[in-house]
Structures are given as structure tokens and as C-alpha cells.
């Protein structure tokens, strides 16, 4: 049974407490209607529950989340998947800035565009490899300070530019795949561009198949594009800055 909540005019504190309490008493599925800006949905949720959101969700959706699955049938705002540890977020729309900040695990699939500073300080640890896939374009500082994980930007809507300035500035871990050509002028100093290997293609195919299923994209059409792979030049970009 799905627990339905009409969140019209409800404060986030009330809404999130309702969800937490219901999860504690064993509820597994939620459908939230008339969401309008309520923050922190799924904050710190450790349980394997599914939340469907109808309406524009508020900032910090999935913050510190650790295993839940959230489906958003609209655009989402800033701070989505902030410091997320595990779980899955699927957005049938576009999202704002600071997406997946310090995200350490789980999946964030976005159908449309992403804003500024996406995947900033994203990191990975052992089996926890976070992945962000966005179907549209991205703003500046894509993958800034990136320390781990995988980001894929598809540019399906063919808007220009595909990605903003300072891509991967300060990057010291992880990998980005951008479908299309990235002007070197847009790259941060700490990044190098590579061709995709067989293994890369195998890797992204797995994720992209799943991604395409969520949004009804044609997998082959997606894979037919030419991808650019971005990796850090060094794991220690600032090692020579100091004297003792």
C-alpha cells in the first residue's frame, strides 16, 4: 500500500516527521502530492523506501540520504543529493545548483539540465561510487573539486554551450564523460581529456541503459554520440604549493 500525503501548505517539518514516523512503523512507499518547496525530503533516510513526489520539491532533497529511492515528477531545486551516501534519485525534469555536493554513493538521474557546481567535491570510497547523469546541459564549475565518482552529461537537447566554464577545476579523482565536444577553453587547469576505452564504454553503457529506461530515451541514439572523457591530471593537484 502506498501512503499518500497531500502536502498542500504543509511545513517541511510536519511533512518529514510524518514520513519518518511512517517509515519507523514499517511503511515502504509514499506518494507526496502538491509538494511546493518543502525542504529536506528524504533527509538522512536509511531505509529502503520509495517516495514519489508530485510538484516542485524544495532545497536539499535527499540530504545525507542513505538508501531510499525518490522519484520526482517535476523540476527540482538546489542542493539535491547533498552529501548523499546511498540511494537513488530520479528527476523527470531539470535541477538547480550545487547538485550532489560531496555525494559519496548512490545514483542521481536527471532528465533535463543541471545548474552550476554540479558534483562539486563528489567522492568515492571503495564500493561506494556515486553517479550523476544529466540529460541536458550544465552550468559552470561542473565537477569542481571532484574527488571520486562518475558524472555523465548527455546534452540531448543540443543547447549551446553544452557545459560552462571551469569544468573539473581542482579535480583530483573520479571521471566525467561528456557527450559532445568540450572546448579546452572551458576546462579547468587540473583536467585532461581522453578518448574512451572499451572499458569506459562498457562502464557507461551499463548506467546509461538504466538511465534511458527511466526517461524513455533511445539508448542507441545516446550511445551514438561522441563522448569526451575527463580525468584529473594528478591526485594531488596542489602538492607543490607550499614550502615548510
Amino acid at each position: 500500500m502506498t501512503m499518500k500525503i497531500d502536502a498542500k501548505g504543509m511545513h517541511y517539518r510536519t511533512l518529514n516527521k510524518m514520513i519518518r514516523d511512517a517509515v519507523a512503523s514499517g511503511e515502504k512507499e509514499f506518494e507526496l502530492d502538491n509538494i511546493g518547496g518543502q525542504r529536506y525530503i528524504g533527509a538522512g533516510l536509511n531505509e529502503n523506501v520509495k517516495i514519489t513526489i508530485n510538484g516542485t520539491s524544495g532545497n536539499d532533497l535527499g540530504v545525507f540520504m542513505n538508501g531510499a529511492k525518490i522519484i520526482i515528477n517535476a523540476n527540482a531545486q538546489d542542493g539535491i543529493a547533498n552529501t548523499m551516501n546511498a540511494g537513488e534519485i530520479i528527476v523527470h525534469g531539470s535541477v538547480g545548483d550545487i547538485v550532489g555536493y560531496a555525494m559519496r554513493g548512490g545514483k542521481l538521474y536527471i532528465k533535463g539540465d543541471v545548474g552550476y557546481r554540479v558534483g562539486i567535491h563528489m567522492k568515492e570510497y571503495k564500493k561506494q561510487v556515486p553517479i550523476i547523469i544529466a540529460g541536458g546541459t550544465a552550468g559552470d564549475f561542473f565537477g569542481e573539486y571532484m574527488a571520486g565518482g562518475i558524472m555523465i552529461l548527455l546534452g540531448m537537447n543540443e543547447k549551446n554551450p553544452l557545459v560552462g566554464n571551469y569544468v573539473g577545476t581542482g579535480m583530483h579523482g573520479g571521471v566525467m564523460y561528456i557527450r559532445g565536444k568540450v572546448d579546452p577553453y572551458h576546462l579547468g587547469k587540473e583536467v585532461s581529456c581522453l578518448e574512451l576505452s572499451e572499458e569506459d564504454i562498457k562502464l557507461i553503457s551499463g548506467y546509461l541503459k538504466e538511465y534511458c529506461e527511466h526517461f524513455g530515451f533511445d539508448f542507441n541514439a545516446v550511445m551514438s554520440g561522441k563522448f569526451t572523457k575527463l580525468v584529473p591530471l594528478s591526485l594531488r593537484p596542489y602538492g607543490n604549493m607550499y614550502v615548510y
Binding site: 538522512g44 536509511n46 560531496a102 567535491h121 573539486y145 591526485l235 604549493m241 614550502v243
Partner: protein, 502 residues
Amino acid sequence: MESQLPAEFIVNIDHERCRKCKRCVMNCSFSAIEFKDKVTANNRQCVACHRCATFCPENAITITQNPLDYKDGYNWSPEIRKNILKQAESGGMILTGMGNPKPYPIYWDHMLIDACQVTNPSIDPLREPMELRTYLGAKPEFLEFEGDPGNISLKTELAPQVKLDIPIVFAAMSYGAISLNAHKALAMAARRMGTLMNTGEGGLHEDLAGYADRIIVQVASGRFGVTSKYLNNSALVEIKIGQGAKPGIGGHLPGEKVGEDISKTRMIPVGTDALSPAPHHDIYSIEDLSQLIYAIKETTDYKKPVSVKIAAVHNVAAIASGIVRAGADVVMIDGFRGGTGAAPMIIRDHVGIPIELALAAVDDRLRQEGIRNRASILVGGSIRQSADVVKAIALGADACVIGTASLIAMGCRVCQKCYTGNCAWGIATQKPELVRRLNPEVAADRLCNLLTAWGHEIQEVLGSLGINAIESLRGSRERLRGVGLNQEALDILGIKHAGIGQ
């Protein structure tokens, strides 16, 4: 490039006394002592950590400053000349450790405490109650009660409060900056003394999970090791915005310090640099801070007080007011003399303001706005002795934070080489052979002794002030007088000059 830098120290070995036991050689972690037929010093490597001198069974080692004289120059001090040489040889920013050593005024040493004579009695702390218990957390402006006289019950639900048996907590020092044994010692001492230790931004080692109720867990810009479990496994959660030793800049744990264990608590791969960005990238404005505070409260079900730590900077009073209004339960202010494991010297020595002035300004501002009750104030940044704690509390702090003092208690000699990872005392290092040198049990005893002694000293002062609860000192600036301060400083501190009565 060949270095033109002279040695800073000279290691003198008294070969008459030396029995060639080589203990000094084994103890030196900076390669400053070798054995070639006899004990030989490599003066250039010596940092004056005193490990060799302390462990020499014959007291055959002394360490002196290199008496190398420079041509007189008040403006071009030897230190400035040496720094230029270093940079000319490397092109690097000068990195350093511990707190600001420059001779800026220390306002603690310009404040004197009152005592009772005749008109009100002093109290004997050895025989009468003398209460130091302090609670950290937001307090309501007033309490509401219900029921009839004789059967009154409390209606107000208080925000979460953390109990301290002594108003001194251990400062944030990450596992990474300091060793696991040092962390263990701090946690054990915190539990025994009824106070708190602070993980810093490096996550929490699994060995310390059992100390959750005595631990402040920090959320810094790098979010290392931050999970919902980490947030909930704590007494209090602290958002670190800034640090007194390096306001406005990020942190940098070099990859060589990220071994297997550090990698586990920080949740990053072995050998990668742990870079903490300068800002939190989800906080670009005060309303964003509020957003993060409430993200943490949502994640901890409003059961943990949330602290926000800032460095003392020019506009600290207004910033602190904003932090309180953003929903913080505790504001931690770190003065410009606060310590660090590593910071660029230009920042450590030239940025920020003294904690004494910052504290006075913040407490005043919160009172003017009528919101002082909404958050506890913790202050740190070179609290060196119990007298500093007393003065800080009289200026308005709820409790003090000690970092360097606690390291010194464990054995630190303030050689300022924390960033090298070669700490001979097993404190600021991750090298197993050095970490082993610090016995957590012994170090915890030393920390407990320090706090016990300071607790007695604080009680002694309270008794002489004629008060028997720490809250009667808190903010009671009437009991302080300034000496040798100008009017502006007195006004900011909110105290009168010595010689002026009530």
C-alpha cells in the same frame, strides 16, 4: 637548488656524559641525530621538539637557538630574511603549524579579576559547594508552567542540552591532523571529566563509536566521513565555517597522510589529498547556513544541538547574530591565535582578531538584540590557563575550548611542525612507529589531571568572588578590571579600568 638557509637550532651533545646508548637516535623523528662512531647532530634538521633531550638517560643533550647573528635590522628581522630565502628557493607559500606566535597584544593578560573583602564574603571552595556544571544548547526566553500552586509542572519543552561538568571542552582536531591514539586519549578524558571532544573534520574512527555521547562531530566543507549515522552518533553536531588560525581558507590533508585507517574514517581512497574547500558550497549566504543547520536537525530528528564554528573576524558580532538567528544552538568562536595542523603562515599570522575582543563584541550584540539565550557561546583560540577560562566566562562565554593546551598536556612541545607528519611525540603524526609512542591511557590521565587542576583553580576564583555557581560569573563583566588598556579596548571589552570602583 642548494639551500642557503642556516640551521635554526644547535644540538649540543656532551660526549663526556654520552654512553652511546643511541636512544636519542631512535627517538629523533626528524633525522637530526645520527650515530657515526658517536652521536652526531644534523642541526639543520632539528626542530627543537626535545624528544632526544627528554629521553637521554644521561641528560647529555641540550638544544639551543643557533646563535648566528644577523646584521642588525629591526625591519628586516632574521625570520623575515629566512622566509624570503625559503621562498626564493622554492616558489611556495610558507606552511606552518600551531597558533600565531607573533607578539600581538594578549588581552587576557590585561584583565584582572575581583575578589570579596568584608562587605560580601568569599566562599571556601574546599568545603562548600562550588558548581561548574554548564549546559550547552538553546534556551527559551522564559519558561511556561501549568497546574496549580503545589502541583506545578513544566509546560515548555527545552531544545536539546548537552551537560558539561566543567566548562572546558577539547577543541576540534581531526583524525588525520592528530593520531588515533591522541583521539582516543581525548575521548577517554572527555568521558571521565564529563566534557566533550571534537572529531574535527576527519570523520569518526570506529574505535571511538562507544564515546558518542561525549563527542562533537564536525561537518566541514569537505564533508569527510559525514553520514547520517555519523551525525546521529554524537552529543552535538558542529558546522565548521572557519578556524581562527586560517579564517576564510580551506584545509589540506596531504595524500601521504591518508593511510588505510584515515581513508576509512574520511571515506576517501588511500593516498589522495583530502581537500576541504574554502567555503561550504551549499552555503553562500546566511540563509543557506540556516538551510544546512535545519538539514542536520531534520537528519538528527531535532535531538542534537547544532553548533556553528567561525573564526573571529572584523564583523564577528553581526555574523554571530546572523548565525543565532539562522537557528544555531551553539556559536563557537575561534580567535586569531588559535592553532592548526597546517596553515599558510600569511593567514595564520595576519588574519582575524583576538578572541577576547570578539567574544565581548558577540556577547554584547546578542544581548542588545535580546537573543543571548538562544545560543551558547563557546570560545577558543589560545586559552592557555584557567585564568583565561575565568576571564572568558566573565566576558560572557558559556565554556571554553582548548586545543594546543590539551596537546601540550599530552606531550607536545609546540615546535610547530605538525604539518610534516613527523611528530616525535606521537600526536600530530600517522606513522605507526611514532603513533605508538603516545599511550592513550597515559595521555588521558595527563588530560584529566590538567582539567582537574583547572577545575580547582576556577573554583578557587569563584570562591574568592563570593559566588558558588559558574552561571553567576557568566557575563559578569563587573568582576573584571582592565590594566594598561586604552579606552576603546575597555569599551569593547565592557570593563572598567582598575582603580574604578563599582
